[in-house]
């Protein structure tokens, strides 16, 4: 699929990419190392005026990335649930059956973004992302190369956004091949714009 502004992909984010914007609104559990005056309303569990030291909040990724910068030391963050050891073990056992969309629609992107937060388990997370993708590749390839029909939502339910895009690419190749086989690539069609523009046509005038 052609995107006007594709997601950054790795550890970079593309400022204007809708995918990256949506991905960076995922919540990261963070603990405050300093107290912050008058921002107590951000914490739904207490109704104090300030944020105390040591209070745990779920901050969106874009906020957590700036606050957790090693030089600033406002918060410490921990890995979100889908990247912890339990889920890594599940993925290692059989990555093909895991519903990545439910865990996190931008599974690979969020995982890579969290790598820059310097967790101790970062290297394990990175390895598990690669293994998960290589395991799931076969399934995506088979489904996209063989599935015909208008509604594929039941098939791609378990795929996260990146995998869904790959699926759409495979589908496009398949459909264009089928159209060629049938001979449809040769027929010229009136474009919708022309048939709808309702200007007077020459035959009507004569």
């Amino acid at each position: 699929m052609d995107l006007l502004c594709p997601p950054g992909g790795g550890m970079k984010q593309n400022y204007l990419s809708i995918d990256d914007i949506m991905m960076s609104s995922e919540k990261i559990p963070s603990t405050f190392l300093v107290s912050v005056k008058t921002l107590g309303y951000l914490d739904p569990s207490t109704n104090k005026k300030d944020i105390e030291v040591g209070s745990k909040l779920d901050l969106p990724l874009w906020l957590a990335l700036s606050l957790a910068h090693p030089r600033k030391k406002f918060v410490t963050v921990e890995l979100t649930k889908p990247y912890k050891a339990t889920y890594r073990e599940i993925l290692k056992a059989d990555a093909g059956v895991v519903n990545l969309y439910k865990l996190c629609p931008y599974y690979y992107a969020l995982g890579q973004q969290q790598l820059s937060l310097n967790h101790a388990e970062g290297i394990l997370v990175a390895r598990s992302l690669i293994l998960a993708f290589s395991d799931r590749f076969r399934r995506i390839m088979d489904l996209s190369g063989n599935a015909i029909g208008g509604d594929n939502s039941s098939l791609i339910q378990q795929f996260d956004e990146v995998e869904r895009r790959l699926f759409a690419l495979g589908q496009k190749s398949l459909q264009s091949f089928q159209r060629w086989e049938v001979g449809e690539s040769r027929t010229l069609r009136t474009s919708e714009l022309v048939s709808r523009h309702r200007k007077r046509k020459r035959e009507a005038v004569d």
Partner: protein, 184 residues
Amino acid sequence: MEHSEMEFIAEKQKVKIVPNFSMSKIYFISGEVGPFQPGLPTEVPFWLAISLRQRQKCVIHPPDWLTIESLEEIKEAETTTELFTPLPNTHFREMCQLLLTHAKSNIQNADAVRTLVKDIWDIRAAKLRSSSDKFIRVQAGHARIDNLTLMEINIARPFLLASLDHLHTLRTSKLHVERIVPTQ
């Protein structure tokens, strides 16, 4: 690459026809096409053969490899080896498609031929899928496949390239975490 473009390129190949009209040599930009005599076989580019056939001015002779026997041989060879066998023509599939559409009456057992061609195509597609799956699993740096036709490459290209791109970004982030490759 669009399928119609690949078909266009395939139509440049030469094929034998038997015209039923006579004409002197024609000079085209890509070369000359010999004098036509009714009943004498001549070699012409395929696009010309199709156009003449549609006006019923010739009979197209299918190439030698489009018989049931040779196709069965090819299919046997494909099923036995793990690698891709060289096909008789680099534009195998397109030629078969065009011949079967336009010159159906000139081919014996056109339906059986069509089934065989499709079988060969399916076997090769399955091999391509399993070899790309193996390639990704092992995370090899490069792979080499011989004897793929243009059409097969073009169908596999978008999906495979995008997946490899994704895998590459995952690997780069892993290298970053291992402090080997710095990001900006």
